[in-house]
Amino acid sequence: MVNLTIDNKKIEAEAGQCILDAARENGIVIPTLCSHESLEPTGSCRLCVVEAKQGKRTRIVTSCLYPVAEGLVVDTKSERVMNVRRLVLQLLLARCPESEQLKEMAAEMGVAAEPRFTPDKDNVKCILCRMCVQTCEKIVGVSAIGFSYRGTQKNVCTPFQEDSLTCIGCGACAYVCPTGHIEMETTGDTRTIWGRTFKMKTCKVCGRYFAPEDQLAYISSKTGVPADNLAVCISCR
């Protein structure tokens, strides 16, 4: 265990833990957009930056990545920190003017849009947090979507922006998306996501459509459980 101070509060944290987790365990809120308990932190959104003082050295660090250390003094709301967060939110508001989630977050933090930044008109709500890509690769294991291009052209898509051959229609990407960018529509016996339409399977017990056939086939092939045993929805299991 190590002793550190966050916002004047003396805290004991497990060695190896990051500042963000230590703060959260002690009821200190640090805003984030790309952090999820099941995913590796990447430090891409930069909202969680804090000011950390170790010895004589003070610097801005990424709290989701920076490990706690003995004697570390952390300020989660210093002026420099708030300046970074304000700019990040203003930049994201200009990139995704349609995102309700971002607008809410900005309102909560008292951040107004910067009038000098002309809002983008392509109606993209994606902030490139990479949670969907990570989920698809690390949790689901199909790598159906990924990043393409770099810098301002960077986006999340299926390879060649065509129907993915490996997507199973599970919708995990849409579920983790923090800004409502990934669209998924499930109506009756079909689900459409990333431009591809999947056929849904009915539950053997209640008869309702509950999962894409491709997803069940994938689970069966991965786990070895016969497909027939998977044909029951969660509520009937």
Partner: protein, 159 residues
């Protein structure tokens, strides 16, 4: 195509960490990166195609579109910039009627700007199919394009 890709991957003993050089060799072979070749790379190197696509689009050296017979690269390094590189870029693009990074519809010319070529004394530099043309200016670039256009036409006649 698949055989060729397999052969290239074999050169690197199927080592995934050589994805970038493998793709460079594939591009050299086909003059660009055809989709089927990328799927073949994905299969034989056991790398998800989304990863291959990510790498291909991330690095500037790769092209998903066929390149023209004449590949023009204009150096946009700082030394070339201060000597008027941007004006030349505009002239070449306007003369060819394409944007930089594109290829003319007849697949005759591709035009791109590149980072420093490290021949700053000769700046601005226009490279045509690997041949350096130094101390470029607007008038000279127009002349080169005209010459290539003519040469292209005579080549066609011979065909």
């Amino acid at each position: 195509m698949e055989e060729k890709v397999k052969e290239i991957i074999q050169r690197y003993s199927g080592d995934k960490s050589y994805l970038v050089p493998i793709l460079q060799d594939v591009q050299k072979e086909f003059n660009y990166l055809p989709k089927d070749a990328l799927y073949a790379v994905s299969t034989h190197l056991s790398v998800p195609v989304s990863r291959v696509y990510e790498v291909v689009t991330f690095y500037k050296a790769f092209s998903l579109k066929p390149k023209g017979r004449y590949q023009l690269s204009l150096c946009m390094g700082t030394a070339c910039h201060v000597r008027g590189g941007e004006l030349i870029a505009r002239n070449v693009a306007d003369t060819l009627g394409i944007k930089e990074g594109d290829t003319t519809a007849d697949l005759e010319f591709s035009f791109e700007t590149v980072g420093c070529l490290g021949a700053c004394a000769l700046g601005p530099i226009l490279v045509v199919n690997g041949e350096y043309h130094g101390h470029m200016n607007i008038a000279k670039s127009t002349k080169i394009l005209k010459k290539l256009g003519k040469k292209g036409a005579t080549d066609d006649e011979q065909d």
